[in-house]
Structure formats: structure tokens, C-alpha cells
Amino acid sequence: LRKNVEDFTGPRERSDLGFVTFDITADILNRKNGLHIFWEKNTLIIFDWNVKQLFLYLSAEYSTKNNALNQVVLWDKIMLRGDNPRLSLKDMKSKYFFFDDGNGLKGNRNITLTLSWNVVPNAGILPLVTGSGHVSVPFPDTYETTKSY
């Protein structure tokens, strides 16, 4: 579902605005070795003594005529140590507006959604890790003109 809407928060030009709904199932368990994410049956993550929190975010990455690489964060969540490590979110709407810089969403077949996270330690290095699953989302060739979302 995609509309072409004036972007009030940014440059005052008409840019493509995308709407995506998604499900996230992730399993982030306490395990002794390895840093992985369980998403669609893959692997597992650690919350060890030096991990204060994980900053999770879902980003859409794609290419357009205007820009060779675009990344837009659609949703994020802070998961503190001690929080339920299993995520099972269904039919989520993106937290942030998915505006493109221009009109590159129309007909774009290859938008990859990936879940990544920033490990925030109690003290030490701040790594950025990408989950091993990803989803490809194609956008239609036409604009949606209905008002509802």
C-alpha cells in the first residue's frame, strides 16, 4: 500500500510515502554462547551480565533511481534485560513514516526489511548486529488514493 503525499516534516515536495504492516516473531533467549536471533526458525540471542538493553529496530533497505542506497527505520523497541525475550507482534503498523527521498517507492520490487539491534552494555563496546532473517516487500506500481490507512 503506497500513497504519494506531501511530506510535512521534511522538504516541501511530494515524496512517496509507504505503508507497511508486518509481523515480527523473534525469540531472544538466554544462552551461553553465540549472538544470534531467532526469527523464522533461525538462531538465538544473549542477554548476558554486561548487556543493559537491546535497541531493536526494523529497517527497510532499498535502491532507487535517485539514491543508490536508502535505509529507513520503520519501527524500534527497547528491550531491557529482564524483559520478555520473545517478541510476537502481529499486524504492526510502522512507528515512523516511511517517506522516500523522492518517488522511488512506486513500482519498487525489492524493499528488504531487516531486524537489527544495538547492544548497549553496562560498560564497553557498542556493537550493531543484524538479524539473520529478512523479508522482501514489493511496492505496487500505482498510488493509492483512498484516505484511510
Binding site: 535497541f55 529497517s59 535517485n66 539514491n67 535505509q71 515512523y96 544495538n118 564497553g124
Partner: protein, 194 residues
């Protein structure tokens, strides 16, 4: 004799101070120069280490203190951040960057939420504090909608909690800063290596 006396701590305390200055006067010129050189060496070494860090990390300010609560609960006011700013490091969504808005001196620590990069390497990106409701466009310069590589001071690679509080206290209470400097200076100048 000094130190013996009727009366309250006044003369006694004065006696100790007199001892100290007596010490100083008794040091001959050579010893005094030696002390000053020692002090200068300490200051130079510290400066060299700082400059070395700037070169190694590529950032003009490789260690910064978090000044606001806009990145809580990850970072709190007073936390220390270690930055790198390698030229070839691409800017990607999710990274924590420290940037300066054109014309303002205060570095801001926020997360990159949007990146648009052209084939030739030109990048423009948008940031937002984790603890803020809205993105940083309100903080940028009038009419500015995106940040560019040149605005970046560095990327946060590591962090230590609380340690930076000293800098904040020294900023908010300058008297504390002067007192600390005076004590450190006195210690270095008057301490004698045996």
C-alpha cells in the same frame, strides 16, 4: 618555638602552612626548576595522548560526555562515550552518531533513523534521540532537513557510565574546577621525589 601556643587552631594551622612555604624557600633554584619541568612533562604527556587519540580515531573529539537525557535508558547525563570517525565508515541506520549542528558548538548524541546515499558517496541522513518523540529536524539549522558527513564528530563505539559526571560538575560549578586545579597544581609543585 612554632606550633606551641596558647589559643585555638589558628596559629597551629598557620604553623603548618609556614612549614610548607619554608620548605619551598629552602629548595634551591635547581630543585625548583626540576619541579617545574616535571610538571611541564606531565602536562605535555597528557596533551600528546589526547592528540594521539584524535589521530588514531579520526575524530576531533574522541571522548565526549553525554549532556542530556535524550538517549535514555541507554545513555544518561554524565556517561562517557568513545568515538571513531573513519572516513571510509559508511553511515547506516541504527548507528549512534555524535554530530554538531552548523553554527552551534554543542555536540549531540542521537541515533540515525534514515539514510539516503547516492552512488557517488554523498550521504544525507536524519537522526532522532531514542527518548524523544520526534526526529531531530527541530534541532537542525533553519531550513536544514538532513545531516551530512561533515556534521559528524564521530560514531559511538564504546561507553562508560557515570565517569563523565566530573566534567559536568566542573562546568556547572566553576569554583569546584578552580579548587581542583589549585589542589592538583600545589600537589605537583610541592611533592618531592625522594
Amino acid at each position: 618555638a612554632r606550633g606551641e601556643g596558647a589559643g585555638p587552631a589558628g596559629p597551629r594551622g598557620g604553623g603548618a602552612a609556614m612549614d610548607l612555604f619554608g620548605d619551598l624557600r629552602r629548595m634551591n633554584k635547581r630543585q625548583l626548576y626540576y619541579q617545574v619541568l616535571n610538571f611541564a612533562m606531565i602536562v605535555s604527556s597528557a596533551l600528546m595522548i589526547w592528540k594521539g587519540l584524535i589521530v588514531v580515531t579520526g575524530s576531533e573529539s574522541p571522548i565526549v560526555v553525554v549532556l542530556s537525557g535524550s538517549m535514555e535508558p541507554a545513555f544518561h547525563r554524565g556517561d562517557l562515550l568513545f568515538l571513531t570517525n573513519f572516513h571510509d565508515d559508511p553511515i547506516r541506520a541504527g548507528e549512534i552518531v555524535v554530530f554538531k549542528v552548523e553554527g552551534r558548538d554543542i555536540p549531540i548524541v542521537h541515533r540515525v533513523i534514515k539514510v539516503h546515499e547516492k552512488g557517488n558517496g554523498n550521504i544525507k541522513f536524519l537522526t532522532k534521540g531514542d527518548n524523544n518523540e520526534v526526529d531531530d529536524r527541530g534541532l537542525y539549522k533553519e531550513g536544514q532537513n538532513w545531516l551530512e558527513k561533515k556534521d559528524v564528530v564521530g560514531r559511538a563505539r564504546g561507553f562508560l557510565p557515570y565517569v563523565g559526571m566530573v566534567t559536568i560538575i566542573m562546568n556547572d560549578y566553576p569554583k569546584f574546577k578552580y579548587a581542583l586545579l589549585a589542589v592538583m597544581g600545589a600537589y605537583v609543585l610541592l611533592k618531592r621525589e625522594s
